[in-house]
Symmetry: C2
Subunit: 141 residues, 2 copies
Amino acid sequence: MDPLKLENQLCFPLYAAARGVVKLYTPFLSKIDLTYTQYITMMVMWERKTVGVKELGECLFLDSGTLTPLLKKLEQQGLVTRQRSKEDERNLIVSITPRGEALREKALGVPTQMQGCIHLSPEEADTLYQLLYKMLDQMKG
Amino acid sequence: MDPLKLENQLCFPLYAAARGVVKLYTPFLSKIDLTYTQYITMMVMWERKTVGVKELGECLFLDSGTLTPLLKKLEQQGLVTRQRSKEDERNLIVSITPRGEALREKALGVPTQMQGCIHLSPEEADTLYQLLYKMLDQMKG
DNA sequence: TATTATTATATTGTTCTCAATTTAATTTTG
DNA sequence: CAAAATTAAATTGAGAACAATATAATAATA
């Protein structure tokens, strides 16, 4: 058992599958003018309406180096606003706009469209979900 | 069940876990001056010794846009050579050098070091492996 | 055999990702 | 209170990743 053989790696199919699914999202997301990272950012915005960059980064496992330019683009598109907190000016508060809220309707079809691309049974999907979160939890702590 | 809620996504933990493991590799790989993508490229080289860019891309699910600059860097480091095929000059043949072979010894410790970071049972790891390849196979076809 | 089509790699441009550093605001401490 | 430490974003720089296009070589065809 060669530990440096590609087929003996667990991380490689993880890395490849992750890129693969993002690629599958692309044609659906480009119709609503979002990249995958912008899409999951909007998911947080649809749920929370208002959130600091720091919490956003904790949700998405991303830092300001990635989020700052991304949020500026979403702001340019009129989907969110960015403003400093009055209580603590270090914090940047991101808020969803009516236009951002409206985009949710268009995005509702995306999960359904994606289901046509990946065929896992509900049990398999659940197992995968649990295992991935188990890994993520370990990376946090 | 909101289909646009982050916690209801299967792809998000996939995407996040993949980035997470690459980040875990980084300190180990930086000691042997490789990035993660360079590391898996070298895995193919250690196994095959000589390979065309096209086959390399099929192994790694990457295209020439990613591989061309990466292989030039590996060439600069003296780990591989790049030369056009005599039979068909469209093909670029990548070959491992003695220095590239020697790097394998240094890389042998990496998988062991990584095992200290992610704690899945052998059964869980196997399940995850199978599910990820199931997804990858579907993306190919 | 020319022309056309295909194939393989390279290039260009955009976005993402992250480490490391900088800047500014706030908190802690001496 | 002033200095030092901490925190949050932004910035910078390097490497990926990929779509789209370009270039060059080979194969197919009219």
